[in-house]
């Protein structure tokens, strides 16, 4: 198992190098001068030049790249051109918020996908199955922001059950106050994951239920719930768990639209603003971190696979 981990860790630097080059190239190959945006059209040439020097924008591109990487290796992600703080501190502010949202969405997805997937597999090709998978088909078709709008309309405006603002603000009281602002965004964000995971679990369960060892478990006269939960589900959950982990890693990037709608001060919003304002250090730093996060999620998924499947461990 250590070997699995070691191999995967060794791959990270290479991928990150390519990733960092790509990010750098994309951000610099763009029109739009951050200094101009920052200082406005009427700035004096001296002020503009000073700012350029401060952010190394006057050096040739390859030099800028090397300088950036050098700072990276020392743990310094740079300073935001637009905001008055380091990229790292901005990250420290926004990442926890995004993670909370992603976790809420994933929790929602897991709570739904597990029973739906199992039910759909056990009663496959009956109306129960069509109900479960029909829901997944619909979930695939609707973009999360459209769903968010519908949910807002129904639950906040018409029924007034759930708030739609309040994440990141400090005047929410009590447990309900802490949780409730997350509910609608989590559902909007998590619905697609629910669909993916339900389908995966259903297919995985159907495959496992057809295996010889399940037939043997039945031949042993074990109770149906033992056969399904212990023999079948344990095997079917392996690809499910790994996919859920990878999806979680992906979510940080997908949730930008949701953060935009609900004014959630997370990573996605920060990147969006940085892109609009040509705030290069933020764009570079954040995208790098997001990519690294996703890589880590992949590695964790591999590790989980080894934990769950003894055939890989020994």
């Amino acid at each position: 198992m250590i070997r699995v981990l070691a191999v995967r860790l060794a791959q990270i630097p290479l991928v990150l190098v390519v990733v960092s080059l790509t990010i750098f190239a994309v951000t610099r190959a763009t029109p739009g001068d951050p200094v101009q945006i920052m200082l406005g059209m009427q700035s004096s040439p001296e002020a503009a030049a000073a700012m350029r020097r401060e952010f190394n924008l006057d050096r040739p591109l390859p030099v800028q790249y090397v300088l950036w990487v050098d700072k990276l290796l020392h743990g310094n992600l740079g300073e935001s051109i637009r905001l008055n703080q380091s990229v790292t501190s901005l990250l420290a502010q926004t990442l926890p918020v995004s993670l909370k949202l992603a976790s809420a969405a994933m929790l929602f997805a897991l709570c739904l996908a597990l029973p739906l997937g199992v039910i759909a597999a056990l009663w496959r090709n009956t109306w129960l199955d069509y109900l479960c998978t029909g829901y997944t088909v619909a979930s695939f078709a609707i973009p999360n922001f459209a769903l968010a709008l519908i949910l807002i309309y129904v639950f906040s405006m018409k029924l007034d059950w759930l708030p739609i603002t309040g994440i990141g603000s400090s005047h929410s009281t009590g447990l309900w106050g802490a949780i409730s602002p997350f509910i609608v965004p989590a559902i909007a964000l998590g619905t697609l994951q629910t669909a993916v995971l339900t389908r995966l679990l259903r297919a995985s369960m159907i495959d496992v239920l057809g295996q010889e060892y399940v037939r043997v478990a039945r031949a042993k006269g074990l109770l149906p719930r033992t056969v399904i939960l212990v023999h079948a589900l344990k095997n079917a959950l392996i690809p499910f768990v790994t996919m859920a982990t990878i999806q979680f890693g992906y979510m940080i990037g997908i949730q930008v639209t949701i953060e935009y709608i609900f004014a959630i001060p997370g990573v996605g919003s920060a990147v969006l603003n940085a892109v609009i304002n040509r705030d290069f250090p933020v764009i570079q730093g954040f995208t790098l971190v997001i990519a690294a996060f996703f890589l880590c999620a992949n590695i964790v998924a591999d590790l989980l696979y080894a934990v769950l499947d003894p055939r890989i461990r020994y």
Binding site: Y213, A219, K220, G221, L222, L223, H231, K234
Partner: protein
């Protein structure tokens, strides 16, 4: 009173192309402690019949009908699914063909043994574990107590099949059905497993149905043999009678196509030409007729009746082969 009584068992399946008549009226008895061989080619219905006896065929798509199907006097066909579940693994057990796939890869061997003991015998964990060790030793697995926490992929095929036998026999069933249990194993391992089952069957007084297409194995371990073709028993006899006085064209064909140790190089194997009949549209004459080398005139006129050829020896054949 026989342990297992089967009278006119028929199993059919609904399929896209019509009704598949997999088993068309099988009847036989099995006594306690007897080892009955069931010989036939793939698709002959031998596995389906066993699964039907074990109540492991979901109905639909299967349809099981019999005038009698009972184990130790209890009606197998009419009983509830809950009762069938109690019997399975406890009174009647089955070992399947592929040991590589029969064990759950994510559960330990010990767990897969213990769960049967806990389910049917109500043992607590400690009792079950020590009994599990005894069972593994009984089937000849060395270092049994250490092996309990091992996973199936750490065992060879032969060892896994021994474990399957241990699981099957863990609750002292009255009936053990072995469906091609040694087909997937090496010849030497095969011999070991066969010896093991034979010994345990006699020690524990268990009735065994040994399904195989390998006549050699059947000759070495069985008391009686049923020969199945196209969903029917075409011949049944004590093992010596079957091999010395085969009385059905199919049995003759099988014996002719089996390699023998005492043959010389000049003797050739005679394969049985042709293919088994379509089970959706079963023939009205003897099912083996198209491939039979000893067919007589009557064979083309009507279905051969079941005739006696000796004590416990019957065959559905017009030809006089003895």
């Amino acid at each position: 009173m026989s342990l297992l009584r089967v009278r006119d068992l028929q199993v059919s399946f609904a399929s896209d192309r019509g009704l598949v008549r997999a088993v068309q009226g099988i009847s036989f008895d099995l006594e306690q402690g007897e080892i009955l061989g069931v010989v036939g080619e793939s698709g002959s219905g031998k596995s389906v019949a066993s699964l039907a006896i074990m109540r492991m065929l979901p109905q639909p798509p299967a349809r099981i009908v019999a005038s009698e199907l009972s184990l130790a006097g209890e009606d197998l066909l009419g009983m509830s699914e809950a009762r069938a579940r109690e019997l399975r693994g406890a009174q009647m057990a089955m070992v399947f063909q592929d040991p590589m796939r029969s064990l759950n890869p994510v559960l330990t061997i010990g767990r897969q043994l213990v769960e049967v003991l806990q389910r049917h015998l109500g043992l607590n964990r400690r009792q079950a574990l020590s009994r599990a060790v005894e069972l593994l030793e009984m089937v000849g697995i060395p270092q049994a107590s250490r092996r309990l926490s091992a996973y199936p992929h750490q065992f060879s095929g032969g060892m896994r099949q021994r474990v399957m036998i241990a699981i099957a026999l863990s609750c002292r069933p009255k009936l053990l059905i072995a469906d091609e249990a040694t087909t997937a194993l090496d010849v030497t391992i095969q011999a070991q497993i066969v010896e093991l089952v034979k010994r345990l069957a006699h020690e524990l007084d268990i009735a065994v149905i040994w399904i195989s297409h390998d006549l050699g194995v059947v000759a070495g371990m069985c008391d009686r043999v049923n020969v199945i073709y196209a969903g029917r028993i075409v011949e049944t006899a004590k093992v010596d009678d079957l091999f010395h006085r085969p009385s059905h064209g199919y049995t003759l064909g099988l014996l002719g196509s089996t390699p023998r140790v005492d043959e010389t190089e000049q003797d050739r194997l005679t394969p049985i030409e042709g293919l088994p009949p379509d089970l959706i549209d079963p023939p009205t004459l003897c099912p083996f007729l198209p491939r039979c080398k000893v067919a007589v005139a009557e064979c083309r006129q009507s279905m051969p009746p079941t005739r006696a050829f000796g004590p416990l020896h019957q065959a559905s054949c017009f030809a006089e082969l003895a």
